[in-house]
Symmetry: C2
């Protein structure tokens, strides 16, 4: 099935976005609590980390890294969860689907969603595996290097999907990070089918070029079959289409996906809307403190704009505003109400 056969596209983007809906956006992702600490560049080298990337780690490695790490701060994170909080902070209605354990960090995660008005649908109860966490090392250049112990979040599967919530959201937003297990892929396919059956739009963020490398064929078929709106950065897009040429990647993307918003670091973002390309400048930041959440919050601004019927260029600008706020402080979620910045 090609993208042009997607129900949302058949009925038209505007129709999909305009219908009655309880939620503007429903997100699915790895439910993680971030453990954030500053560290010198030498920490990255000593522990064999790759700066700027996300690495999946097991319990033993998590314990070892945490022991080596300086004093840390715990904050709820998780890529799609950060995005949903951003949407709520703009004034949008968001729900989040992801798995935590029945432990203290699981309660912290749930609290921090509800506290900003995001509905949390955790799926089937988990006891035996702890809530996932992401050890984030922030170096003096403000770059974040992530080490994720997935824990309970990796148990998310198709039967955890709250079909009613997905059907009640104008846009489904899926986080590529979750894609590392077959059960999660099945959950994505199921959620996308539910959304499309309800005439909704389906979006995906590629999340990480290593993750794209690990699961390229599955990502390619998901994008071609089910995705109406793709988020990603330049590196992820190049990884998806295995090319060094951004233009070649964009040409491929156009064949498979009707709409995409691609961030290009400090240069802002570009929106690819069929044959049209819209350049969106970044919002300047006095001092970049911690880039964690930049892409997540860009997506939040874009999705809030889209579901509040704004032109695509304005959607991109809202993305730039939200990303600028989150990189100007430690932590992956906004510290001020984003609606106050519009």
């Amino acid at each position: 099935m090609s993208a042009v056969a997607c129900p949302a596209v058949v009925m038209g983007r505007d129709e999909a976005l305009r219908g009655d809906a309880r939620f503007d956006v429903v997100g699915i992702g790895n439910a993680l609590v971030d453990v954030i600490a500053q560290a010198p560049d030498s920490f990255i080298e000593e522990h064999g980390l790759v700066k700027g990337w996300m690495d999946l780690i097991d319990t033993e490695r998590a314990v070892q890294l945490y022991q080596a790490l300086g004093s840390a701060v715990e904050m709820s994170g998780g890529s799609a969860a950060n995005t949903m909080c951003g949407i709520a902070s703009f004034g949008g209605a968001a729900a989040y689907l992801g798995k935590v354990s029945n432990d203290e960090l699981g309660r912290v995660f749930g609290h921090d969603l509800l506290a900003v008005g995001v509905q949390f649908r955790p799926g089937v109860h988990v006891d035996e595996v702890p809530t996932g966490r992401c050890i984030i090392v922030v170096t003096p250049d403000a770059e974040r290097t992530m080490n994720t112990y997935l824990g309970a979040s990796s148990l998310y599967c198709a039967t955890d999907v709250d079909d009613a919530a997905v059907a009640a959201g104008r846009v489904l937003y899926m986080e590529g990070y979750l894609f590392d297990r077959p059960e999660a892929k099945a959950a994505f396919r199921h959620a996308a089918a539910v959304a499309h059956d309800a005439g909704r739009m389906v979006s995906l963020t590629l999340s990480d070029s290593f993750c794209v490398d690990r699961h390229r064929d599955d990502f390619l078929s998901l994008v071609a079959d089910d995705v109406d709106l793709l988020f990603g950065n330049e590196a992820e897009l190049l990884a998806l289409y295995q090319t060094d040429s951004f233009d070649a990647a964009v040409a491929e993307l156009r064949r498979h996906c009707p709409l995409a918003a691609i961030t290009i670091g400090a240069k802002g973002s570009i929106i690819i809307d069929g044959d049209a390309v819209i350049q969106v400048p970044p919002v300047p930041v006095r001092k970049v403190i911690d880039t964690t959440g930049a892409g997540d919050l860009y997506a939040a601004g874009f999705l809030y704009g889209l579901t509040s019927a704004r032109p695509l260029e304005e959607c991109g600008q809202l993305g730039s505003i939200a990303a600028a706020e989150v990189i100007s402080h430690v932590g992956p979620r906004p510290l001020v109400e984003l609606k106050s910045l519009v």
Copy 2:
């Protein structure tokens, strides 16, 4: 027994501070993880809180307040633990005695001490009660209002005291907050005896004027019998001596305690050294963000100065430097190495 009979005073302050010691300071207090959230002034009123104070809360109240609270950040806290981290940040050697549970927050608490080089002696293992936490509401005026669920921390008792650690520290530092239970009072008396037997100095912080009100007689006798150095703020000192006159309180204090460092908010601090009084100006802060930890870090600077054989005026200045750092950001512990600010 009056203060002049204290071993540390008999042998002289310099002698007590100069001897061989593994630790500069050994602290005892409530081991708590802080749950910090910004909230408007209306939150304080709606929930019947008293701005700027610490209130002890039970499980039910903790659940209710946390539910009402916005998105929060978790960071290790605890008054005396913050002080020990400050001493380590100046380059001093510190140990901490306090009780946590065998749970995730307990591990976070222990990690964050070790990560900055503070030795942690948690006493007898606890399973059945969760690690204590302090829900801190920060209002737009940067004032913090604290609601403490003591949990495991309140189980600290005399048999938990690591006598060898106490005897190995030049100064014992005790947090008045812990004083709310008879077992903790016994632990303080025991620790003070161990310290004095080893020729060490004993210090106490009054912590909170409500706590002083609740246990005035016990505080008065502890100060008179065992305390060589008293920390507190103006309100706490007035509460201790039940007077509205600062001069009258200072006159009383002089009769009972040979040395005291009293903070007076934005006006800095005064050091009362027998008949002498030293005024210490504050260090200006561009913007006060969160006053949590101000008193704790003042004590850290003072104690670091004292145990590194500096004149009292300089001890007070180090206190002002550390307090200024901690109130210029969210969280109760320094974000930069305090030794870099000296």
